[in-house]
Each structure stands twice: as structure tokens, then as C-alpha cells.
């Protein structure tokens, strides 16, 4: 009886822990941060050096904040991750892309912007961080309704 109960408890624990482990890949703390500084701190990004090898291709003026196309790429050797932050969005951290062997540090994606803001892209290469910034003006916000 006791062993049966233990087996049941063990089965339950495995059933609960497994899905949690699968979700742990999403950094809840960093994505829930309300300021860019807090978000970057949760990601362990300290001082980032400005770099001209990081490219942000985004419109100067976005007419529709609900769909702002941005294209980011890094020419920094050994770039393993790109992080996108929109300073004035309610939740500034937009995305973190981790690149393994076989991928180029390049991403094109459409994002929502609540208002005119700096778009910051950070690159991680060899344990160091680099940053580039571009301001995008928004005439109609894309976060409310």
C-alpha cells in the first residue's frame, strides 16, 4: 500500500515537473520587466559597448505601430545571441534569439510599438555585449485597442 502510494506520488511529480521544465526556456522575469534596465539585468546583460557592426534596419517613421518591420544582423565575430528591446513599450523586452552552429546572426520580424521609441539591439559574443540603437517614430500605436 505504501509502495503503491509512493509510486503514485512519484508519477505525479514527474507529470508536473516535466511540463515546467519545458517552459523554463522562457525567461518570465526578463519578459515581465517593465523597464529596459530591469529586463537586461534579468538576462545578465551588463555594460554593452556601442558597435557599428550591429545593423538595425527599421523604418524612421512607422505609420502603423501594430506592424513595424525590423531587420537585425550582427557582423561581430562569434555572435551567439541577439536581443531586441523597445524602451517605451509596456514590456520592453521583445525577443531573444540564440544562434547555434549553422545559423547566421540575422533575423527579420514584425513587432508592435506603443509609441515613438528607441529600438535597441544587443548582441552577445564571446561573453561580451554590444549594442546599437535606432529611433522609430510611431504615428498610430499598436498596443492598445
Amino acid at each position: 500500500m505504501n509502495t503503491l502510494r509512493r509510486a503514485l506520488v512519484a508519477a505525479l511529480v514527474i507529470g508536473i515537473v516535466k511540463p515546467l521544465a519545458a517552459l523554463a526556456a522562457w525567461n518570465k522575469e526578463a519578459f515581465g520587466a517593465k523597464t529596459a534596465g530591469d529586463a537586461l539585468e534579468s538576462l545578465g546583460v551588463g555594460n554593452a559597448a556601442p558597435s557599428k557592426d550591429l545593423t538595425i534596419d527599421a523604418p524612421q517613421i512607422a505609420e502603423n505601430g501594430a506592424v513595424v518591420p525590423i531587420e537585425i544582423s550582427s557582423a561581430i565575430a562569434g555572435t551567439t545571441a541577439l536581443i531586441v528591446v523597445i524602451d517605451k513599450n509596456p514590456f520592453p523586452l521583445i525577443a531573444r534569439f540564440d544562434f547555434k552552429e549553422g545559423a547566421l546572426p540575422f533575423v527579420k520580424v514584425n513587432v508592435k510599438m506603443g509609441e515613438t521609441s528607441d529600438v535597441r539591439v544587443l548582441a552577445e559574443a564571446g561573453g561580451k555585449h554590444y549594442v546599437a540603437t535606432k529611433e522609430v517614430k510611431v504615428t498610430i500605436g499598436g498596443c492598445g485597442g
Binding site: 540564440d98 547555434k100 508592435k112 492598445g144
Partner: protein, 104 residues
């Protein structure tokens, strides 16, 4: 409403493979109100994985600030015709979807 269709195209560029993928997802921010003035709850893709011939090459974590029906472009080093590209996502409801395409 849940997992809608995905579309993907992978083409050889000069020295790289261009992967373009479209996902069907509402990407609700949790801040929009419906016609009754009630907040529409958060519903968005959180994780995204790109695999080449079964090997993960890009792993992304994204927020609700990615536009509705997200479109992503990635670039892979080299590549050859027939390489199998697989993209899958996981949202905050635990729903998943994936699609496969061969490099053309």
C-alpha cells in the same frame, strides 16, 4: 483560433539559406479590449525553434509584442538543396505547432 496553418519557404541565397516562415497566431497583448470593453487575455507564442536536418540552429524566446500572425526570416550558413528545415512554436497556453520544408 488555436494552432492555425503555418507556411514556410526555404531558398538558397549566396552562401546562405534564407528561411521565411509565417505562423497563424492572434498574439494577444493582454491590453486590447473586445467590443464589450473586456480585456482580451494574453495569448502569445513564447518559444520558437528552427531545426536543420533535426539539429536545432536557432532558439528564440519572444514576447507578446511580436505582431499578429508573425512572420520571421532567418539565415542559415551554407545549406544544400533538399536540407530539411523544421520550425516549431510553443505558446503560453501550451499549444504547439510545427512545419517542415525542404530547401529549394
Amino acid at each position: 483560433m488555436a494552432a492555425g496553418p503555418m507556411k514556410m519557404r526555404a531558398t538558397l541565397g549566396q552562401g546562405f539559406t534564407d528561411v521565411r516562415v509565417l505562423m497563424t497566431h492572434p498574439m494577444e497583448t493582454g491590453q486590447r479590449k473586445d467590443s464589450d470593453g473586456k480585456l482580451v487575455p494574453l495569448h502569445f507564442i513564447q518559444n520558437l525553434t528552427v531545426k536543420v536536418n533535426g539539429k536545432p540552429v536557432v532558439e528564440a524566446q519572444i514576447s507578446q509584442a511580436v505582431s499578429r500572425n508573425p512572420v520571421f526570416s532567418f539565415r542559415l550558413k551554407g545549406g544544400a538543396k533538399g536540407d530539411k528545415i523544421e520550425v516549431s512554436w510553443l505558446d503560453n497556453h501550451g499549444d504547439t505547432n510545427s512545419t517542415e520544408a525542404a530547401v529549394a
